[in-house]
């Protein structure tokens, strides 16, 4: 077996204990938070002690915590994330219904942000034009500091209410109920604003990381050597600077993908995008332990896998780290 394959297998196996530990931590942290799901389901209009008791029994909340955790592990190994307290259906189903919309939104935004952020950094980094550099630096600070829900509302007011170019929210035109290609076009039409909002907030991260990495590589001694021996600047930049300078961007891209499962919650809420982030916040506020644990489990797996994939891609792009 090649050392590269062994490297991948070793890294994959290390994910399992990590995820199990994360589940236990999540489990106890969630139960530490004040609030009782049965009481929340029973409501504040006419709370009833009998109803709360019946719900606690139904959901096994009256059992000791360690026993509850044991049962949860048992279910996980059977591929069952349990039963949602609020929605009364399986957590697997609830996540499956929402995960598509979230991935569509966050992955498209991450790809756009990665591509544009890196491209701008590369263009600005090559030509030492101070003005462009300053403009993009300031812009990147502005967008990076902007709260996503605020930018989202500005986008709606600007592009939906003022220019009437895009719908405010949702994923479908419910009045028209399109089929086939028209439906795909309709979804893309609805996707545009939330995707742009997310991308605008993520572009500065990619821009700044790549930009500073270009600066750093430019100062490396081998670049000075290449310049000294008279290699054309263009060639140095393309062949030696860029290859090294893009590496940190790949790390950020991988992490962004890992966090994307629930990381866009605020944007999803403002644009009423039917994704996982909203499902998660709802589960937090209503103390739906099983649903929350299920979402955290999927998130943990995604982040671990994303980090693994990043390392693998890294190993491809940068052979130096493969044999360490």
């Amino acid at each position: 077996m090649s050392s590269f394959a062994r490297y991948i297998i070793r890294r994959s196996l290390s994910i399992v204990p990590m995820v199990l530990l994360i589940i236990a931590l999540n489990f106890f942290i969630i139960h530490l938070a004040p609030g009782n799901p049965a009481q929340l389901i029973s409501g504040l209009e006419q709370p009833s002690v009998e109803v709360v008791k019946a719900l606690e029994e139904q959901y096994g909340l009256d059992k000791p915590l360690v026993l509850q955790l044991g049962l949860y592990y048992k279910n996980i190994f059977q591929g069952n994330l349990g039963y949602s307290f609020i929605y009364g259906t399986s957590v697997n189903g609830l996540i499956a219904e929402r995960i598509g919309a979230t991935i569509l939104l966050t992955v498209s935004a991450a790809v756009i942000a990665f591509a544009l952020g890196t491209l701008i950094a590369v263009l600005v980094g090559r030509r030492k034009t101070r003005i462009l550099d300053s403009i993009f630096s300031v812009l990147s600070y502005v967008f990076y500091a902007m709260p996503s829900f605020w930018l989202a509302l500005v986008m709606i007011l600007l592009f939906s209410s003022t220019f009437k170019l895009f719908p405010t929210s949702g994923m479908f035109n419910v009045r028209a109920s399109y089929e086939g290609w028209a439906k795909i076009w309709d979804i893309l039409h609805h996707l545009f604003l939330p995707c742009l909002t997310l991308a605008l907030i993520q572009i500065p991260v990619f821009f700044r990381v790549t930009r500073s990495s270009i600066d750093q590589v430019n100062q490396d001694e081998y670049i000075t050597t290449f310049t000294a021996i008279g290699l054309p600047r263009k060639k140095i930049y393309r062949k030696y600077v860029l290859k090294n300078a893009i590496l940190p961007g790949i790390t950020i891209f991988g992490l962004t993908l890992g966090y994307s499962i629930a990381g866009a919650a605020l944007v999803e809420i403002v644009f009423a995008w039917p994704g996982m982030g909203r499902l998660m916040l709802d589960a937090v506020f209503r103390r739906d332990y099983n649903l929350l644990l299920g979402i955290y489990f999927v998130m943990a797996v995604c982040i671990c896998v994303a980090i693994l994939l990043t390392d693998v891609v890294y190993a491809f792009v940068d052979p130096r780290i493969r044999y360490q």
């Binding site: 009782n36 479908f172 009423a272």
Partner: protein
């Protein structure tokens, strides 16, 4: 010429599309329902949708008066322990099965045995007897005067026995694809995006007039308002903050209609711990005087609703004693009362400090800010504690770990609702208030059915509440309807005909 032709063709298409769209009523809506089992769990977001899919025996209209739905009439026995309902004939479930007394028996008995959301209101039912298909006799353990008003409230929609009988009602496929008797049939629920209903051609009552009714889920009220203004929705049921309503009222294309509701904002005192100043009556009276309720109505509630004057909601006029009033705004008197109570100002100007706990949300935050300013003027330092609902319940209701707390809530459809808020051990008695006079009067009032006979008991309870001041009524809640002017036949325009939240009579008249 050719250009003109194209223009005409395009505009025809446009109007044709418009005519098609006119059949669909879109409601901007706050959130996803839990599911479509109308009786199993308290479901704030499912309630309004379920009212269009299901019917009750009897419903409430917008004025909280009774409207017969599946029961055409009913009788109460002499001893008040037997209610006989005469059911509507020829009603069909959405799957074609006939509606009978068996459905009534199944629904009411299941709420009791499965501890449904309306359990408190129907727990006194011992059994439901069905002498024939169109008569249901409900037997109660003890006479319970407010039985019918509570039956007309929430969590009592009649469910199809032919689908649920013999199954676990928490795990029935009909919870995801409901079958009702209401004006609209279920089509689809795209989670997080929308719920689509279609016209029930065989509905027993008048209507429905629109072909499709869509609840479009938009959780952010600001987005919902923009979607509504841009024509993506015809009705905005996700009310924006009160501060935007005054601007919205000036929009000629929008109707903003206000309906008083038996829900009210109030401030509760923690009476459970003698170490807290709030257990001192004079302190409570002083705080009642120190709060400027008119400022809360004007600054926080956008002028809607009105101040809380009485010790029960004026929206149930027969039960409220308008001669028993809460203290008026008088900071000088508050200062005097606090001095008398022995809490003189220290060198730093403060008498003592209180923790004020309230829910998240713009309206609550603003209200807490006004109260903090009012109380600090009379030397009471206020520490603000803003919590999401789960934590608030834990701290205020379960642990009584607070000094003063804000809440609101529905106090109808009958004054028997006061029991859970102020009677000893009441499930929503955050104050921990306990008074024999109040307990006795509330208990006796529920035993007789004649309103005139019940009134004196409720009046006596209110007089005792005014004397003890366990809470300060702050403001009355108004329910706000926001819809486009082309939307006609809303429930607010049809009291006595349809239940609250029903879109059976709604039409689009462009």
């Amino acid at each position: 010429m050719r250009k003109l032709f194209v223009f005409l063709l395009l505009s025809t298409c446009f109007f044709a599309a418009f005519a098609l769209a006119a059949q669909t009523l879109v409601v901007a809506y706050m959130g996803d329902p839990i599911w479509f089992n109308p009786c199993a769990k308290t479901d704030d977001y499912g309630a309004a949708i379920n009212r269009n899919i299901f019917d009750q025996l009897v419903a409430q209209d917008v004025n909280y008066d009774l409207v017969p739905q599946l029961a055409t009439s009913w009788e109460v026995s002499e001893d008040g322990k037997e209610y006989t309902f005469y059911l509507r004939k020829g009603v069909k479930w959405h799957d074609g099965e006939p509606f009978t007394s068996r459905d009534v028996k199944y629904t009411l008995e299941s709420i009791v045995t499965n501890k449904g959301s309306a359990y408190n209101n129907v727990a006194m039912i011992t059994e439901v007897v069905c002498p024939d298909d169109y008569t249901a006799v409900v037997k109660l353990q003890d006479p319970y005067a407010p039985f019918i008003p509570f039956l007309a409230w929430y969590g009592t929609q009649i469910m199809p026995a032919h689908l649920y009988e013999g199954t676990d009602w928490n795990d029935n496929p009909a919870n995801q694809k409901p079958v009702g008797t209401g004006p609209f049939k279920f089509v689809e629920w795209v989670k997080g995006d929308h719920v689509t209903l279609t016209k029930n051609e065989e509905y027993w009552g008048e209507g429905p007039y629109v072909d499709r009714l869509i609840f479009k889920i938009i959780p952010d009220p600001n987005t919902a308002l923009q979607a509504f203004l841009n024509g993506e929705a015809d009705i905005d049921q996700n009310r924006p903050g009160f501060n935007t309503l005054s601007i919205l009222k000036m929009n000629p294309e929008v109707n903003v209609v206000i309906n008083p509701s038996p829900s009210r904002y109030y401030l509760g005192f923690n009476l459970t711990d003698p170490a807290r100043p709030t257990t001192n009556l004079k302190v409570r009276q002083a705080i009642s005087c120190a709060i400027n309720k008119q400022a809360i109505v004007d600054k926080v509630l956008g002028g809607f609703g009105g101040i809380g004057e009485y010790f029960y909601t004026p929206a149930i006029p027969w039960a409220v004693d308008t001669n028993v009033k809460a203290a008026l705004y008088d900071p000088a008197k508050a200062d005097k009362l606090l001095d008398e109570a022995g809490y003189t100002r220290g060198n730093d100007g403060w008498r003592f400090a209180l923790d004020l706990l309230y829910f998240q949300g713009a309206d609550w935050t603003d209200m807490a800010a006004v109260i903090k300013e009012n109380l600090e003027k009379v030397g009471i330092k206020v520490n603000l504690g803003e919590y999401e609902i789960a934590t608030w319940i834990e701290k205020v209701l379960n642990a009584h770990n607070y000094d003063i707390a804000l809440l609101n809530g529905f106090q109808g459809p009958d004054p028997a609702n006061l029991t859970m808020r102020v009677a000893t051990g009441g499930s929503l008695n955050i104050m921990g208030y306990s008074n024999e006079v109040v307990d006795w009067n509330l208990k006796e009032a529920a035993k007789v059915s004649d309103i005139e006979l019940r009134k004196p008991y409720y009046y006596a309870a209110q007089a005792q509440l005014a004397a003890d001041a366990p809470f300060v009524p702050l403001a009355e809640v108004s329910y706000i309807y926001i819809f486009k002017t082309y939307v006609e036949g809303m429930d607010i325009e049809n009291p006595g005909k349809i239940g609250t939240g029903s879109y059976a009579l709604t039409k689009l008249n462009f």
